[in-house]
């Protein structure tokens, strides 16, 4: 168990801050309009960048004329790929060529364009209006070629190739598990179900679009790149490589950020261009993505197709699972995760919360002439969970069983459990969360309501979704997927000043998750000080040597553990100095929970931190001989083994309206277990926000492409983001299974809502349509589909619930 803290935890006091919904420390500035978001920063002399983008999905780039651009009033400069001469972005997996084909993504398109919106050139002007005028003046010559826009066109024999060296337009093709004898299991099974599930292409859609601001600082001999990113250190690494400079010469900082949801956990080409142009011009250069760019040319997500076969016993026990997964990753692999992120996630985690004894999976990432994808909140889990949950429902129908009984028969209940996927699950409440979700709806009378509604001819349905999500991904877990850039650890440094206040750093990145508050709660409890005495600093590559940012619900599990461990070390140091000052041994003293160190045997003898700090800095002659001046401690944390798993059950009641096809959500209940809850309000907020995004994917949001590769959604008129009237009130109940190996017992809570909601809603819709004979296995569920289903007057198929 990697507990990086040396010595015993010395804090004597009980938890005072953790577990309490203290007021958020980030709120006062944000509600006053005093947040500092990227576009709020206008350094003197700043120039504005805008991108010339391809209007063609696929073709040869035969010429770019930027002379007319340079003639536009206000335009200062314009550059194409040849002008900037930057190294390509290449993200790699440590896998043989038959499993993985890397793609070179030029920072600006060179020779070829591969999707509508691909950046071809950059225009820099005195203001953003002039920059856009300049973009309009650019002359780009592209010889259009046939576009590859779907799984069918990509995999068709003789299909045009998006990348010349990716045969069959396939970037990743892995078969990670194949239990011996699985075909016999299928042959002998009492029941085999086949489910074909698809999820539409979505936009993670942070409300603040992407953006970057770069300026050269002579004094630091550094380019300061301020950017909207979840992963500042990885931006620095890649920017340095593309610009072919030492990493030291780039500092990446992140101001307040209006959401990320994964879209900002990969490095954007535009960020690199802005950095390069600012260096070249020796002027500050800013780029703020507009919404049209964000919808069409930013990273998209989610488009996946699962063909799942499952074998069951007559009593509903699952015997085997055989899956073919195709993920449409768009035109390029993202950095640092590659196009492998989605198929590898699906392969490793697909059996989900169920005991599946035999498992075979093939998972592919295909490339198409669409905007590339990033790992949006949940990463393949919404998709494979949907496939599994549809399998459970389908088996129940075929066997004439209650779908909840089928789930219960198969849920993992004995922990730790090692699955056929070679993953070890730590203890959770898979069964208990389902029981509680069901009894909640039952006690509220929803099952009765549904049946009475059916008798009146109304289409009301109830749906469930059970899932777990791995959250504490350490480097072992990522390395198992054979990534060459292996995330996992985080580092924290904590420093106390002479007033007894501390500044704690973290390699994670707050963009709505309340880190400034929750990390401070952790520190305050560990040291026994007031939360007001703790300040978190993050999002600055100069403050900490390396960090992995915020994604995969890792901030509290991994980052928070590093923060906790560093705090413990500082506590040990404080005790050590105090013991020396009291002339006793370290074992004789402990933190008193009130900002001081006391003698265990005589609490009246106490030294406040301020006094210890005074010695550490101003009278270092009084320090023990083997203690260095200063009061700081550093610790790192890396989740061991397979990491930890949060889990939940979602239960939802919907009514499908004939005529309009509207799916109205009448009741949404979430029962979740993310281990120790640091801040209940924040966890509830993460659940609800995630569920809202999951409902969006289930019912509203989709980017489609026409046969020429033209995206359907270029504004909020075409891309339907649900508002307050589409998202219901949501109850969140907590079960708490503390994680044994994170420092705080926390398991992470960022993604669950998004994972559970699509399947729960889809199951509810199917339940509402049960009398029609129609079963839906794709999201988003379009009103038209619901209308058509309700027009069918087929005999009811039997469901037993």
């Amino acid at each position: 168990m990697p507990s990086p803290a040396t010595g015993p935890r010395s804090h004597a006091g009980a938890a005072r801050w953790v577990g309490v919904s203290v007021p958020r420390r980030e709120d006062p500035r944000l509600v006053a309009g005093r947040g500092r978001f990227l576009d709020d920063i206008d350094p003197p002399g700043v120039l504005h960048a805008a991108f010339v983008r391809s209007t063609v999905a696929h073709g040869a780039l035969t010429g770019i004329d930027l002379e007319p651009v340079r003639a536009v009033p206000g335009v200062v400069a314009a550059f194409d790929a040849a002008d900037l001469d930057l190294a390509d972005i290449v993200a790699l997996l440590d896998r043989p060529p038959e499993e993985f084909v890397p793609t070179a993504m030029p920072v600006l398109a060179r020779d070829r364009v591969r999707f509508v919106g691909e950046p071809v050139a950059v225009v820099v002007a005195r203001d953003p209006y002039a920059a856009e005028d300049g973009v309009e003046a650019a002359v780009v010559r592209i010889t259009a070629e046939e576009a590859v826009v779907s799984e069918e066109t990509a995999l068709a024999p003789g299909a045009p190739l998006v990348h010349a060296d990716a045969a069959a337009n396939t970037l990743v093709d892995v078969s990670m598990f194949a239990t011996e004898g699985i075909d016999e299991v299928f042959a002998d099974a009492a029941c085999v179900v086949e489910v074909d599930t698809r999820t539409g292409r979505q936009n993670a859609l942070p409300l603040e679009t992407r953006g970057a601001l770069a300026s050269w600082d002579d004094r630091d001999d550094q380019l300061l790149l301020q950017t909207c990113t979840q992963i500042p250190h990885q931006v620095r690494t890649l920017a340095a490589r593309c610009l072919r400079v030492d990493e030291r010469t780039i500092r990446v900082t992140v101001p307040d950020m209006g959401g990320g949801f994964g879209q900002k956990c990969v490095v954007g080409r535009e960020e690199i261009v802005v950095a390069a142009v600012a260096r070249r011009l020796d002027r500050p250069v800013k780029w703020i993505e507009d919404r049209r760019e964000s919808l069409t040319a930013s990273f998209l997500a989610r488009e996946q197709h699962y063909r799942t076969r499952a074998a069951f016993d007559a009593d509903g026990t699952v015997l085997a699972l055989d899956v073919d997964v195709v993920c449409d990753m768009g035109a390029y692999s993202c950095y640092p995760f590659t196009a492998g992120i989605e198929p590898l996630m699906a392969s490793a985690e697909m059996p989900s919360v169920y005991r599946v004894p035999a498992y075979r999976v093939r998972a592919r990432a295909i490339t198409t002439n669409k905007a590339p994808t990033a790992p949006y909140r949940g990463v393949s889990r919404p998709q494979y969970v949907m496939a599994m949950e549809r399998v459970m429902e389908r088996a129940a129908r075929e066997l004439g069983m209650d779908p909840l009984d089928v789930r219960r028969r198969n849920l993992i209940t004995d922990f730790p459990y090692t699955g056929v996927n070679d993953v070890t699950y730590d203890p959770g409440t898979y069964r208990e969360s389902l029981d509680l979700a069901e009894s909640t709806l039952r006690e509220e009378g929803w099952f009765r309501f549904r049946d009475e509604a059916a008798a009146q001819g109304r289409a009301v349905g109830i749906g469930f979704c059970c899932f777990s999500e791995r959250t504490g991904y350490g480097s072992d877990a990522f390395a198992k997927r054979r990534m060459t850039v292996v995330p996992g650890f985080d580092i924290s440094e904590i420093r106390m000043d002479t007033s007894g206040s501390v500044v704690v750093t973290s390699g994670t990145l707050n963009h709505g998750q309340s880190h400034e508050t929750t990390m401070a709660q952790i520190v305050a409890d560990r040291l026994g000080i007031d939360i007001a005495q703790v300040k978190l600093r993050q999002g600055d590559t100069e403050r900490i040597s390396y960090g992995w940012g915020t994604f995969a619900s890792r901030s509290i599990t991994v980052g928070g553990s590093a923060v906790a461990a560093a705090s413990t070390r500082l506590g040990v140091l404080l005790c050590r100095i105090a013991a020396h000052l009291m002339d006793v041994t370290e074992d004789d003293v402990e933190l008193d929970g009130e900002g001081g160190v006391v003698l265990r045997t005589d609490p009246a003898r106490r030294i406040p931190f301020t006094e210890i700090a005074d010695v550490a800095y101003l009278r270092s002659n009084l320090l023990p001989k083997d203690v260095e001046p200063g009061l700081s401690a550093t610790a790192s944390f890396d989740a061991p083994g397979d990491g930890t798993f949060s889990n939940a059950t979602h239960a939802v009641v919907v009514e499908c309206h004939a005529g309009t096809g509207r799916v109205e959500i009448l009741r949404y209940a979430c029962v979740e277990d993310c281990g120790v809850v640091i801040h209940p309000q924040v966890v509830d907020g993460q659940c609800r926000g995630g569920i809202a995004q999951g409902i969006a994917g289930a019912l509203f949001e989709e980017v489609t492409y026409d046969a020429n590769g033209e995206p359907s959604a270029a504004s909020f008129i075409d891309y339907k983001v649900p508002t307050a009237t589409e998202i219901p009130d949501i109850t969140v109940a907590h079960l708490e299974t503390p994680c044994a190996f994170t420092e705080n017992g926390a398991k992470g809570a960022g993604e669950g809502g998004t994972i559970g909601a699509p399947a729960a809603v889809l199951n509810a819709v199917n339940d509402a349509l049960r009398h029609t004979g129609v079963e839906l296995d794709a999201t988003p569920v379009h009103p038209q589909t619901v209308v058509e289903a309700l027009l069918r007057k087929e005999p009811a198929c039997t469901t037993a619930t």
Binding site: A32, D40, P128, G259, D684, G689, A692, F716, T723, T725
Partner: protein
């Protein structure tokens, strides 16, 4: 397109003179010329509401107005809500208390939307709003983080307390 106009804008009860191109939006003038960066640009096409400010007391999308159109109007931005002492208004406090914000990017827009609506209701002497009514109002703006429930809570709570103790509003 490059005609310039000298205009006077009254923002948060202060007068400002600015020279603007006719095509420059009110949002850009507030944010970049007057440095009132509270109102945000989320879409610049009138859907998300992140840019909401009060124009003569009524919520309006600053991205859909040209600055030249706002001359002669009384404009209020989120920066006007807190007292000069820095004390946050009841509405701002309610957003924080109910966890009505996560990233906070949509928050100034929601605050101004709610502020305008609450003031208008108070002027018409309306009673306590029901939750569905608040939800309806909140549906004018987009939030990507919260799932809206806590925003609705914060606005409904403020409506209630203002009715209970009129005159104590910020």
């Amino acid at each position: 397109m490059h005609d310039r106009h000298l205009i006077t804008l009254t923002v948060n009860d202060e007068e400002h003179e600015v020279v603007v191109e006719a095509r420059r939006t009110l949002l850009d003038v507030l944010r970049h010329d007057l440095r009132l960066t509270g109102a945000h640009a989320g879409c610049e096409h009138g859907v998300c509401g992140a840019c909401t400010v009060l124009v003569d007391g009524a919520p309006a999308r600053a991205c859909l107005l040209f600055a030249v159109q706002a001359e002669g109007s009384a404009l209020h931005t989120v920066e006007s809500l807190a007292a000069p002492s820095g004390e946050l208004s009841d509405l701002q406090q309610a957003f924080s208390r109910h966890h009505g914000l996560q990233c906070g990017f949509c928050t100034p827009g929601f605050l101004m939307l709610a502020e305008g609506w609450l003031a208008e209701r108070a002027a018409t002497g309306a009673g306590e709003p029901d939750r569905e009514e608040v939800r309806e109002v909140a549906s004018a703006n987009l939030c990507r983080c919260t799932g809206y429930q806590t925003i609705v809570d914060a606005i409904a709570d403020t409506a209630r307390t203002r009715l209970a103790a009129p005159g104590e509003t910020a």
